[in-house]
Symmetry: C2
Subunit: 209 residues, 2 copies
């Protein structure tokens, strides 16, 4: 017998898989999920179409993984900033909203794809998961705030969802690449408005920063 997969082989396979994933991510960031054909992804990552299928079951699975990776990274950043914000619910909520919105307004194309782009059902399932993550993060903050008397008592899950809805809907116009080829004039003001809205909705004064 002769050729058996070795460590080097496995490592390079992993590297190549990552490369395809990264390429797919780039393609999505550039043209959304709609523009992410398998051919385009293959070309971008410098492998053949067929190779894509040796690393991923099919296009759906690949795109779902792209979504998951991007969404997770995004969420992890937000969660980290929230964690760094200390114990004050108001500060934590401000961190959540500001970080979420700021980052969305930076990587607008990708943010739009993650939040709003029409996608297939499989990818949409990932989106649902992303939403749930944010909602759960919001829930802990809201619950703590209510317990601490910072926020008025309301149904926690519903309110957390409403906050995330308010934030993302406020961004739709600013993110949509059709509607707004150029970024909004004053992102900071937009974010401040959204933050204030949410704080009011929770029955708290916004923290200044």
């Amino acid at each position: 017998m002769a050729y058996r997969p070795t460590e080097a082989t496995r490592a390079s396979a992993q590297a190549k898989r990552d490369a395809v994933l990264a390429a797919a991510r780039d393609v999505v960031a550039a043209g959304g999920f709609a523009g992410a054909s398998v051919a385009a992804i293959a070309e971008r990552s410098g492998v053949s179409v067929g190779s894509v299928y040796s690393y991923f079951d099919n296009r759906e699975a690949l795109l779902a993984e792209v979504f998951r990776a991007a969404a997770e990274e995004e969420f992890a950043r937000v969660a980290r900033v929230v964690g760094d914000a200390g114990g004050d619910p108001a500060a934590r909520l401000a961190a959540l909203i500001d970080t979420f919105a700021e980052r969305a307004l930076r990587g607008r194309r990708m943010a739009w794809s993650l939040l709003f782009e029409p996608v297939t059902a499989a990818v949409d399932a990932e989106r649902l998961r992303l939403r749930r993550s944010y909602r759960e993060l919001g829930e802990t903050i809201v619950a703590d705030g209510i317990a601490a008397g910072t926020f008025v008592d309301q149904d926690v899950p519903v309110v957390a969802g409403a906050v995330m809805g308010a934030v993302s809907e406020s961004l739709v116009g600013a993110l949509n690449p059709e509607l707004t080829p150029h970024p909004p004039a004053d992102p900071a003001a937009l974010i401040a408005t959204i933050r204030r809205f949410c704080f009011l909705a929770l029955g708290a004064r916004p923290t200044e920063n």
Copy 2:
């Protein structure tokens, strides 16, 4: 010469067009846009596949028109109730939120399709228009409320968007046919929570009702 289209002809053509549209609407209401194949629509309306194409340019156009019709009717109802609510901004906002949410929780399948179902870009454009309609309606209410001192002063368009975002995001879970095959236990409580959230966000006490 002989056959020239007459009044009766034209009327029946219009009727048949409407029938196709209605059938398409039924199909969408039953299985979403994804399940609305031309074949299914044709069968439901009792005409041939080919005939569908003599009344509509293509599937996209037909589905876009289905969306538009359903969305317009929905919006018109809400707008009417808002109009009937008199001049008090708080009452009008309550009417907007309650009617929107109540109706969504009734026709859940269709509401989900209109608000959240993954759709093609052409249909999504109609969705954007629907959102804008609601936002504009909200804007007039919010602006009036601010002018009347009922609501605190905030950026009107952003806040109106945020309100609609809060309302619809709160409904996602309750509407998604995958997640929730059965309607929520207490729709009234859900709606009350959402309403309170929005009123707080606008700096007003909710009207009781």
